[in-house]
Structures are given as C-alpha cells and as structure tokens.
C-alpha cells in the first residue's frame, strides 16, 4: 500500500463518519414523525399519496401484517415490471432496442430489480427502452430501495419497543423513505452528476463521424436521474452494460467518489438511528465501529492484492493489473469502489471484477458472503449486522454462563431459531446452487470465457451476489440462459425474504417483551470487548461456512497460477 492510497481511503472514511450523526438523527426524526425542514413541502404530498392509496399511516401493524404488506408490494412490483419489459417495444423511445426480451430474462430482471439485487443478465444499451429504464427499472430502484429502508426501520422499532406487538405502518414508512430520504437526495446528486457530465436526455442515439472517418454510435438517455437513485437505493444496476465504469455513468474520479458516498452514507447512518431510537447511542456507535473495521480490513487486503497484480509471468504481470480498469480511476479508486459496492449491496462497479487478481476478487466475494454487514444495503445492512450480533450474544452467553440478552430483551429458544434460520439460509442458498451448477451441463455452459478454478469462482460469485441482493457479477459468466435466469432469480428471492421475514418476526417477538433490569451479570454489548467478540463471530461463521469453497476457487487459482497458468482457460 502506498501513502496516497491510505490518504484516499482515510479521507473517504472520514467524510463518511462525519455524516453519520447528522444523517442518522435526520432519519430518526423522519421515521419518528417529528418535524423536519422539508415538512412544509412534503406533508401535503404525503397526505395526497395516502389518500390515493387508501392507506392510513397511523394504522400500526403487527410483524405478520407488516411482512405480508412488504411481500405483496414486492410481488406487485415484480409483476408490473415483468409486464412492462415484455411490451416495451410497443411503447415510445424504444428505437435502439434490438430484440424482444425473452420471458426468462424478463422474469429474472423483474425479480432482480424488485429485490434491489439488480443483477443484470442483459446489456442496457440495446435491451432497454427509455420507458423501461425509467418507469420500470428506476421506479423499482426507488420502491424496492424504500421498502428495504422501511423494513430496517420497523426492525429497529421492534427492538426499541417494550410490550408492544406493533412495528409501525409499512405504507407510511415506505412513503416517508421515498419522499423524505431518497427523492431529495436523488435530486441533489443528479444535479451534481449533470454538472460533471452525466447525460440527461431523451434523444435518439447519435451517429458520430470520427476524425478518421469511422462511424460511432453514441448512446443517450435519462442517465443522470437514473444513476443517483441507483446508488442511493443500494440497487446498483447500471444504465449501460459497463455500469459505473462507463464514462457516461461516472465521467470523473469525483463522480465515482460521490457514487460511493451515495451508497454508504444512509446505511452507515442507520447505526446512529439505531442508537437514537433504542435510546442506546453507545450501542449504535459499536455497530458502526464493527462495520468500519470490516470495511477497512477489506480495503487494505484488496488494495494490497490489486497493487501486487495478477500472478502472470514477465511483462504481463505489471500490465495486467490495469486489465478491466479505467485510466481515470486507476487501481486504488477501483479498489475503493469494489469494496464499497460489495459491502453495500450495490451491483455497481468501476472495474471488471472478473479481471481482478484472484485474491483481490476474493475480497469482493467475501464481503458479499459475510452478509454485507459493513454498512450494507439500505435498511438491510443494519439488520444483517444485528442478526449476527444476536448470534454473538448467544455464543457469548454460553461462554460466560448467562442467559443471552440484548437491549434488556431475552434471546430465548424461539428467537435463537429465527437467528439460526437466517444464518443457514446463506450457505444453503449459495452453496447448493453452486454445487448443482458445476455438475450440470446447463451450469457449466455459462463458462464461455474462463474455466478451471476461476470458472468455479464465477459461479460461486453469481449465487453469492444474488443471495446478498448485490447484483455485481463476474461478467465472463454467460448468465443469460434459462438455467441461470431461473436459478439466480430463486436465490435472489431467498436472499431478500430469507433475511427480512425472520428479521421482522424477531422484531415482533422482541417488541412484545418487557425490558429486563440491567444487572451485574448482564453481558455488555456496547463495549470494545463485545465488538471484538462480534468480529470474531463474523469471521468464524464466515470461515466455517465458505472456506472450502474459497479454497477451491480463488485460493486455488492464486496458488496454481505459477504451476499451470496455461490450462484453465476453457472448461473441458
């Protein structure tokens, strides 16, 4: 690591940390229905939307009703998007779309965007009309992102409340997420992006005649409006195939930095909101510190491996580090982007993960496999971390021989079962489909570009990304086949609902309890010691679950590169 890389990362994390408190307390006010400076404009809009929808924000829901509303809302979004993608060629602004979208790809894309995964098995330039980009994908960027934030808030409420079975009103939280959080932030970010060169038009693609006489098609579209919410909603599906590496999506190092802040700020600030709503500020900061530590560990590891370059012989070794990277970002900014997006449930990228070094790419993969707990997805990051924390409370309780408790609430057998359900959902939904893919023709057919250990990593990466609702891909895998379209869609749903439904159930059970008095025997959960225990549990469960698969993929690729760098190109 050179000093400049340390400065880049430190300044980014410094700015992020400064924003945690103001943004976190703003979120606490918004969802506590307290006064904010946007109220004069937004309160009438909020009332109008509730009137049209027929929803009542005062009608508090128990966990089951809250979860049903969330699932139904996601399903409705999926079906509407599927329908739109199937008929997009009949609608205006679709001149550049080259073919009809097949049912399996449309289904995959619809589920992908409705679950904030935004996995993309298509290329945006030639597959999406402007209407589909806006009323289909961008709408889901807002709605699915906001639904995640709503569930995150409901989860925190459940932990904060005592002797109440209610978690809040899903529709109320959803609308507040959009009007008070995502929409204003998206407007500001979009205008900054515009000034920096991100296009915003509805023109036909332009044909340019280059200086040497060759023709080049220059695409257009409502890109600035799309890009800001893509990151704020931690969705990440790009307007174009090359996503955040495309010069129209991120034309300068500054826009890349802005994109990264847009991804990380709200999920990071939710730790402060957690502390604020539960009345335990210190606990919130402990959550933030754990996220911060994991994030920094990933940054350092990824930067060291990428700076070292791929294990290739001769002149190619030094050069190959720039394969799949943009000159304006170079290695370090690409590393910052890869670590932020893989921790942040955002499928965007500034460099091709497939061409990253075996171990640098493994860091990206591990961030997703650990459950995206370093800042994480919008609303889902804090849930994932608290679920892991409860596991640490359980293990810590066993070690000191105390009944496990968190925030004065008893973690009983039922609660533990829900936590375990969440803990085993990941390995089941990632490793089993990977195993199926590597022993079936349909699965192996996806490996058109790379094979061997790297091919296994590509497949593992695809399911890890789908389960984590990240959407990032190793693009060498040809995923637009019925097998991958169906398999990844199923895993995406498992990831979305396998995390959020147990979380809501747990929040409901916690809310019902009466807070227990704090005694000398209570295991403290807001101390540096507990933060270390939590980090240990994260590492331990992650390693126990995924180390064998990682050894067969990236570790094997790294170690064997010197021995037979030449024979793992194509599967045979």
């Amino acid at each position: 690591m050179n000093w400049l890389d340390i400065v880049r990362f430190a300044v980014f994390l410094g700015v992020l940390t400064i924003l945690v408190k103001p943004v976190g307390s703003y979120l606490a006010r918004v969802f506590g229905r307290e006064r904010t400076w946007l109220d004069p404009i937004l309160l009438p809009v909020e009332r109008a939307v509730h009137r049209i929808a027929g929803s009542d924000p005062e009608d508090e829901m128990e966990w089951g009703r809250y979860a049903t509303a969330f699932v139904v809302f996601t399903a409705a979004g999926t079906l509407l998007l599927y329908g739109l993608l199937r008929v997009q060629r009949l609608l205006p602004w679709s001149g550049h779309v080259t073919g009809a979208m097949a049912p399996d790809l449309a289904m995959n894309t619809a589920i992908s965007f409705a679950t904030t995964t935004t996995w993309q098995a298509y290329a945006g330039e030639t597959s999406m009309s402007y209407v589909s980009q806006l009323a289909g994908l961008m709408l889901q960027n807002f709605l699915a992102g906001a639904a995640g934030l709503a569930v995150g808030i409901a989860f925190i409420r459940g932990l904060a409340r005592e002797q109440s079975t209610k978690l809040g009103n899903f529709w109320g939280d959803l609308i507040r997420s959009i009007l008070w959080v995502l929409l204003p932030a998206a407007l500001v970010v979009s205008v900054i992006l515009l000034a920096c060169g991100v296009p915003m038009n509805f023109s036909k693609y332009v044909t340019a005649r280059g200086l040497e006489g060759g023709a080049q098609t220059i695409p257009g579209g409502p890109i600035a409006a799309f890009e800001s919410i893509k990151n704020l909603g931690t969705n990440g599906g790009g307007f174009f195939n090359a996503n955040g590496a495309h010069p129209f999506e991120s034309p300068t190092p500054f826009t890349n930095l802005l994109h990264m802040l847009a991804i990380a700020v709200i999920p990071a600030a939710l730790t402060y909101t957690f502390g604020s709503l539960t009345g335990r500020r210190k606990q919130g900061w402990v959550l933030y510190a754990v996220m911060f530590a994991l994030f920094v560990a990933g940054l350092i590891a990824c930067d060291v491996f990428e700076r070292r370059g791929p294990p290739l012989p001769g002149a190619a070794h030094a050069a190959a580090a720039m394969e799949g990277k943009e000159v304006r970002f170079g290695i370090a900014d690409s590393v910052l982007t890869a670590v932020t997006t893989s921790n942040g449930a955002t499928g965007s990228y500034a460099a091709m993960v497939d061409s990253m070094t075996p171990l640098g790419g493994a860091v990206v993969l591990i961030n997703m496999l650990l459950g995206e707990i370093a800042f994480g997805g919008l609303g889902t990051g804090v849930i994932s971390l608290v679920m892991t924390l409860l596991l640490a409370v359980f293990i810590g309780g066993l070690m000191v021989g105390r009944t496990p408790e968190f925030l004065g609430q008893h973690v009983g057998p039922r609660e533990t079962k829900l936590i375990v359900l969440y803990t085993i959902a990941g390995p089941a939904a990632v490793l089993i489909p990977t195993a199926i893919a590597v022993v079936t023709r349909a699965g192996l057919a996806g490996l058109t570009m790379n094979g061997g250990a790297h091919g296994l990593t590509e497949i593992l990466f695809a399911f890890a990304s789908s389960f984590a609702n990240n959407g990032q891909n190793m693009a060498g895998l040809n995923a637009n086949t019925p097998f991958y379209n169906v398999a990844t869609a199923v895993v995406m749903m498992a990831g979305r609902f396998g995390l959020l439904i147990p979380a809501l159930a747990l929040a409901g059970r916690f809310g019902r309890q009466k807070s227990r008095p704090h005694t000398a025997g209570t295991l403290e959960t807001d101390t540096p010691l507990f933060a270390m225990l939590l980090l240990g549990v994260v590492m331990l469960t992650g390693a126990l679950t995924y180390l064998p698969a990682l050894c067969l993929g990236p570790v094997h690729e790294q170690l064997s590169a010197g021995i037979h760098a030449h024979d793992n190109d194509r599967p045979r």
Partner: protein, 192 residues
C-alpha cells in the same frame, strides 16, 4: 391480503407519477437549461457535424493521431452500443497471450519504466476516453514524425491536456485522446 394488493397497486401508481414523472422531468429541465452540453452527451461538433463525445473514447489507427487503449467493446472496439471489458480472468492464458502480443508489437518508443500498462490492456467500459500521460508521451515521437510538428510542441500539448487527480488525491492523471487529437488537427491540418 386483498387490501394489501389494492394499496400496493395504488401506491405504485402514485409514486410512479412522482418518481418517474416529476423527478426525471425536473432533472431533465435543469440539465437542458443549466448544463446543456453535458446533458446532451458532451458532443463535439466540427462544421455542424458530430465527430464524437468528449467522454466516449474512439478508435484511432493512423500515425498522426494518438491511439487509445485496446478496447473490448464490440468486435472492432469502441462500439458505443456494446460497452464492456474483456472479462478475461487474471490467470487466463488468453489474457497473457494478448498482453504479450501487444507488448511485442508495440509500435512506439518504450519508456524507461517499461510499456505503460494502459497501452496493452483493455478498459472496463471499452470506451475509456483517456490514456495515461506516460502512454501519450511514448507516442509523441511517432505523432511528431507524421505531422511534421516539433517534438517539444507535441509534448507541451500533452502537458496542457493532462488532467490531474481530484483534490490531488482521487483518480489518476490522464489525457483525453480525442481532445488531444483535435488539438493536433487544429495545428497541423490533415492534407486532403
């Protein structure tokens, strides 16, 4: 359940109007009023004809021009409708062979520090509009030869087009190939 379905559909329609009607219309209007050039793709026109976009790299093969990076976008590279990288794995033989091939055939002066990495690798987007200053410098002798311009002048043009890091920290120094080549055309017009 039925109640949830009804609310879902109605709320989606209401939010559609706000997030996909009002919001993009406002961003579009701000763009067309305040940032017209950027909003329309940073296009560059010469004699009323579009020659390219500042932000989208394009192919250059002639000796009088600076060459961009290798590109994996489309069959011939720099296809604006097919952005993307090579996606070759880091230990792939094809990647090794491609890089070694480009190194062997390298047409320009090899700088003391070795051939610039960006000159022999494909970018992530396939549309990278930039090359590194080292890459530009190593091409300067060829361009000077072909255009008849003094080498010192070419080098000062590269310096003038070199963009630094943001705040001195973020990104890497770079040179926009299309803008630099337009500068060349401005000083040493092509013979018809």
């Amino acid at each position: 359940m039925l109640e949830h379905i009804k609310i879902s559909l109605r709320i989606t329609v209401a939010l559609l109007v706000i997030t996909c009607g009002f919001y993009p219309a406002l961003v579009w209007a701000i763009g067309q009023v305040a940032f017209r050039h950027q909003a329309n793709g940073s296009l560059i026109e010469q004699n009323g004809k579009v020659v390219g976009s500042e932000l989208i790299g394009q192919n250059f093969a002639g000796n009088r021009y600076f060459h961009p990076r290798p590109s994996a976008a489309g069959n011939d590279g720099y296809d604006g409708t097919a952005s993307g990288g090579s996606n070759l794995g880091p230990t792939s033989k094809k990647l090794l062979d491609t890089i070694n091939g480009l190194v062997t055939k390298y047409p320009d002066t090899k700088p003391a520090g070795g051939i610039p990495a960006d000159a022999v690798t494909a970018s992530a987007s396939g549309l990278d509009p930039h090359i590194s200053p080292e890459n530009a410098m190593s091409q300067s002798a060829r361009v000077a030869n072909a255009t008849g311009l003094p080498l010192a002048q070419i080098e000062s043009m590269i310096h003038a087009r070199t963009e630094g890091r943001f705040l001195g920290i973020y990104g890497e120094p770079r040179v926009n190939v299309l803008l630099l080549n337009l500068d060349i055309d401005g000083i040493a017009p092509k013979k018809k």
